[in-house]
Symmetry: C2
Subunit: 278 residues, 2 copies
């Protein structure tokens, strides 16, 4: 699976191209889900659909038929491994912010190759200068207003840096540009709350259940002095961090044996995350 391939729907009708007047293009007026596919299946489809349903309710976006979409997704995947992206927008609208009523959403499914294999020795990460603004009405959602992430990811092009950590405008550590953040402190896993900014990631959600982790506020020092740090997302699973600026963590340390055990539990929950697949 090399090139990206996509199918597009307006309401339940298949269309050939995105309308230039789509509100996704004009305003980022939409949501997306990025799913790891394993042998043509989407093991976390239910969790992704549940998040999309909640987010669509918050934006008052109508949802298409999930059974139809899942069928189309399977046809697109054709039994392969890869990444499936679902994009949902408010559809075509006139000029102006007022949403069309009723809106006929645009849905796009696209399949993409797997990202490069994660480095076996763990990730090296940096702090980004671009901050996340505090917007409780959009916090947690995987919406299409992503200029902050684009600017943050553009801050470095050194391939030895694998990800960038982002802080809120108030200085709290929140996430990486495309992953959630977990840190081990005082024997307990902690992850930043996403009620003011950040995305409620699907892998993060699985981990909250698996780890009895604490959703809290973390500052830069809390991360830099943590006993262990990992990133996670629904495409790449759990990614141990071994370097953050001057701070280094050594693998395998006892704390990282716990991360490895978690990776094994994740592999049992989602077969794409068996270690030889990452």
């Amino acid at each position: 699976m090399n090139a990206s391939v996509s199918v597009i729907f307006q309401g339940n009708r298949r269309i050939a191209t995105v309308d230039p007047a789509d509100r996704g293009l004009a305003y980022g007026d939409g949501l997306f889900e990025t799913m790891r596919a394993h042998r043509g299946e989407l093991p976390w489809w239910d969790a992704h659909w549940a998040r999309l349903t909640l987010a669509a309710a918050r934006l008052d976006l109508p949802l298409p038929d999930p059974a139809m979409l899942l069928g189309e997704a399977r046809a697109l995947l054709a039994g392969d491994d890869g990444v499936l992206k679902l994009l949902l927008t408010r559809g075509v609208g006139g000029r102006g912010y007022a949403p069309p009523v009723p809106a006929e959403p645009t849905v796009m499914l696209s399949r993409h190759p797997l990202p490069p294999r994660a480095p076996a020795q763990g990730l090296a990460v940096r702090w980004c200068e671009t901050r996340l603004a505090l917007q409780p009405r959009l916090a947690g959602l995987k919406h299409c207003n992503r200029l902050e992430q684009v600017l943050a990811r553009a801050e470095w092009d050194d391939p030895r840096i694998h990800e960038g950590l982002m802080r809120s405008t108030e200085g709290d550590a929140v996430c990486a540009t495309a992953a959630n953040l977990f840190v081990l402190r005082e024997g307990r896993w902690r992850t930043p709350a996403v009620d003011r900014c950040g995305v409620a990631g699907i892998c993060r959600g699985w981990l909250l259940g698996a780890l009895d982790a604490l959703e809290t506020r973390l500052d830069v020092t809390d991360v830099e002095t943590a006993d262990a740090v990992f990133l996670c997302n629904a495409v790449r699973g759990i990614l141990p961090v071994v370097r953050l600026g001057a701070r280094q963590w050594t693998l395998p340390a006892p704390e990282y044996r716990e991360v490895a055990a978690l990776q094994a539990r994740l592999a049992a929950a989602h077969p794409a995350f068996v270690m030889e697949n990452l």
Copy 2:
């Protein structure tokens, strides 16, 4: 000019449709300008292009050739009045936030009908509940991350309410959903600074020069107890406000005669804003 008509370019090549992998659609990774056309011309083209140039530099977006675009815009307008929208995105990119280097931008020009005539008796406006997050890196730009405005504009559908005023998450009055805000207090016009959120509107820019207005912070009470209030944008010009919740202003009051004089000056600067055109 009824339906919207558009032309799309990738770099300097004309293309038929927007690529589904365009980063404008994926992330709102782009900018736009909305211009009032008068008899096929764009009297404020230079100001719009100057703002777009500054904004593109801040997002590290390459710009297309302005002479080519202006020629295409005139062809699209075909001598008519209306609205011309220019959309610039970072173009096609793979999955993931890292910007393609070099990016080949997508540009879309579309023409649209004039909005409905402004009510002769002035605007009735309301406060929106949706707040503007503070993001200095994006403040001032007319970028395509506009979910806050979409949510704010969706808060009312009473046609007797013409616009909604937006506050920042800290409570400052900033703008309307699609216009800038000016208030007269103690004999001086004031408009909210746009260094933390809000858009540096083109009509606002013209007025700052014409009025010797103060860019400042304003709270809700500053607006509600002002001697006169108007909204402005580059499509509709200057729009006096006569009602904001329980507060009413009476036209013509002496303060509003000053607004009428400003409207006459604006009409001299941009022929679409002669009063019979609004």
